[in-house]
């Protein structure tokens, strides 16, 4: 019998085993539920030379770029702290010449992941972008950023993007079981495609639940267990971003982060305190509560609004009824065996 590996591990072990220098790394989450615990661990372990994919690069991209982990960035959106007077880690890195960036639209970026998820080598995208500078101005992808082909059915010119199959996806979800079946609900964004397009998948979750919970709600599973390499239990693992059903965006913490992000020095101080200064998510939470009080977390803890349960039941789960009679033939196992014997249907 095959040895079944235990997928449940700490963020430290998961990142050390599955995220390597030079990887194409994709942030599975889109805007909400950012896998902050895993992102911070990547920075603490000082991964270098990453090509980073993020559907909407805000918090996650800023700290990874500022942490010196990223050489190349593929995204659709760059955050800017403090308007004209402010800036961002991405802008500072582009100016310093330490970061190359490729711009896509939200749809095109997601189309690359969908193509990758399904094993296709490219995907048709919306052709209007051909007149824009997204199409004309290209960075490290050059010719490979877009290609135009002729539709074999209509003869029209079609814009395409190449599939993306990142080496590793890090993603935060509400819950998972120990086999890696990962359940996520709320804004679906590009969570499923970013995860499934990737070669390795590291899942962090608010809680690890019994397999039975997953089995009775398979429609919530976005990533099947057989695709997942590591499962990390990380309560408050997306803080200061929000996780539906667990906690809201921490507006105070988020604002403090972006104030710091206006300058490189400011962001360095913030990261010294919250990323490098905390060995893991528990230390981060301890530090947060010591500094701001546990009531700050209580104030953003979600109240319950449960989804109506879906009934996965069926009429019976055995071919034999309560009287041990086979449901179609109306006979017991012993009677069935006797008939098989009498009819000469048994061998050996």
């Amino acid at each position: 019998m095959a040895v079944i590996k235990n997928k449940v591990m700490t963020a430290q072990e998961a990142v050390s085993r599955f995220v390597q220098d030079g990887d194409h790394l994709v942030i599975g989450n889109y805007t909400v539920g950012t896998c902050a615990a895993l992102v911070f661990e990547v920075i603490r372990q000082q991964r270098k030379g990453l090509t980073l994919y993020s559907q909407s690069g805000v918090f996650d991209v800023e700290v990874l770029v500022a942490g010196g982990c990223v050489d190349r960035l593929v995204t659709t959106y760059v955050y800017r702290a403090g308007g004209k007077e402010g800036g961002s880690a991405v802008e500072r890195a582009i100016k310093a010449g330490t970061l190359e960036m490729e711009d896509y639209t939200n749809f095109q970026y997601n189309a690359r992941m969908v193509a990758g998820m399904h094993g296709f080598s490219f995907m048709q995208v919306l052709e209007g972008a051909m007149v824009t500078d997204l199409f004309k101005k290209r960075s490290f992808m050059g010719e490979e950023k877009y290609k135009v082909i002729t539709c074999p059915y209509t003869g029209r010119q079609i814009l395409t993007v190449p599939a993306a199959n990142p080496d590793v996806c890090i993603v935060h979800v509400q819950r998972a079981d120990k086999f890696g079946n990962a359940q996520y609900w709320g804004a679906l964004g590009s969570v499923a495609s970013a995860s499934l397009a990737s070669k390795r998948i590291v899942v962090s979750c608010e809680e690890i639940v019994e397999h039975d919970i997953i089995q009775s709600s398979p429609h919530l599973t976005l990533i099947p267990g057989y695709r997942v390499d590591a499962v990390v239990e990380a309560p408050w693992g997306a803080h200061p971003t929000e996780v539906l059903g667990y906690y809201n965006l921490d507006r105070m913490m988020y604002a403090m982060f972006f104030l710091s992000d206006m300058t490189g020095d400011g962001l360095k101080v913030w990261m010294d305190e919250w990323v490098y200064g905390c060995t893991d998510r528990h230390a981060y939470l301890d530090h947060y509560m010591a500094k701001h009080g546990a009531e700050m977390l209580d104030a953003i803890r979600a109240k319950s609004y449960f989804s109506a349960p879906a009934n996965y039941g069926s009429a019976y789960t055995s071919c034999w009824d309560n009287d041990n009679l086979e449901r179609t033939m109306g006979i017991t196992l012993e009677e069935m065996e006797k008939i098989l014997e009498d009819r000469g249907l048994l061998n050996g």
Binding site: M1, I4, N181, C319, T328, G330, G348
Partner: protein
């Protein structure tokens, strides 16, 4: 004394033994699902059983009526769609699939579409279903043939086996290296494919079946394994599981209809309706 078994039990259990722990398996209805259920219950508890309708990681409790039968299990791990079930096969995440065969040729190419002329059929069969894509991209395919036939030339090529044999499948560049049919299971024996020539050969015969009877079914000079032996007999635990899980498959369709109808008749009589 070891338990006696029916031919269907032998086939199901032989197929089940091809499944290894930890593998991802696409199952069709009938023999494959019972084989999958047995494997998961007895020797492959960590196998991920899948149906192409998008039911992923299920444990069958009763034999499914069709490939979208979520009533046959008690929940499952991942609800996806048919499209994604196929593309995950395309990407190499399916280790084993099972397919039924109506016609098979020397190199494991399969017809499940039509007997006779396509436009003027002698017998119109179900067609492709998922078969061509699964035989193309699953790592191993277990073929089963119960009413079908060996032919020199298929009336219709539904699913690609080893094409013209030798390295022609790999050379086509269309399929993952090493993929293709791994085994053909019939009511008389077990066939496998020569590593080099990819020609089908008889690997084992079921107890009580003579090689001559099998030769008669094959319109070419069938190759026989030099270490030809009898199909391994099922264990009592395997027989017990299969009999409890799928009694109606064990007795076979004919007997199931006979006993089922007589049961329905008896019940109607008891209610004074007949």
């Amino acid at each position: 004394m070891a338990k006696k078994y029916t031919l269907d039990e032998l086939l199901i259990i032989t197929a089940a033994r091809e499944i290894r722990d930890g593998e991802n398996i696409i199952l069709g209805v009938g023999l494959p699902t019972t084989a999958g259920a047995m494997a998961k219950a007895l020797h492959a508890p960590n196998a991920t059983l899948m149906m192409e309708s998008g039911i992923i990681d299920f444990r069958p409790l009763v034999p499914p009526n069709h490939i979208a039968d979520a009533n046959s299990c008690r929940g499952f791990s991942y609800a996806t769609d048919l499209f994604s079930a196929f593309t995950m096969t395309y990407r190499g995440y399916v280790d084993v699939c099972f397919l039924g065969v109506a016609q098979i040729d020397k190199f494991g190419n399969v017809n499940t579409t039509v007997i006779g002329d396509y436009h003027n059929p002698k017998m119109r069969l179900p067609g492709s279903g998922g078969a061509p894509d699964f035989l193309s991209y699953a790592k191993r395919t277990i073929l089963t043939m119960r009413g079908g036939e060996f032919v020199n030339k298929l009336d219709y090529l539904t699913s690609p086996g080893f094409l013209d044999g030798g390295d022609s499948r790999d050379k086509s560049g269309l399929f993952p290296p090493g993929s293709g049919p791994a085994m053909l299971l019939t009511t008389k024996g077990i066939f496998r494919f020569d590593e080099k020539t990819k020609e089908i050969y008889l690997s084992k015969v079921h107890p009580g079946v003579g090689v001559d009877r099998i030769r008669k079914d094959v319109p070419w000079d069938l190759k026989i394994a030099h270490d030809l032996s009898e199909t391994d007999r099922p264990s009592d635990a395997e027989i017990d599981f299969v009999r409890r899980f799928a009694p109606t498959e064990v007795v076979g369709r004919k007997l199931m209809y006979e006993l089922g109808l007589s049961n329905a008749f008896k019940k109607a009589q008891a209610r004074g309706k007949m």
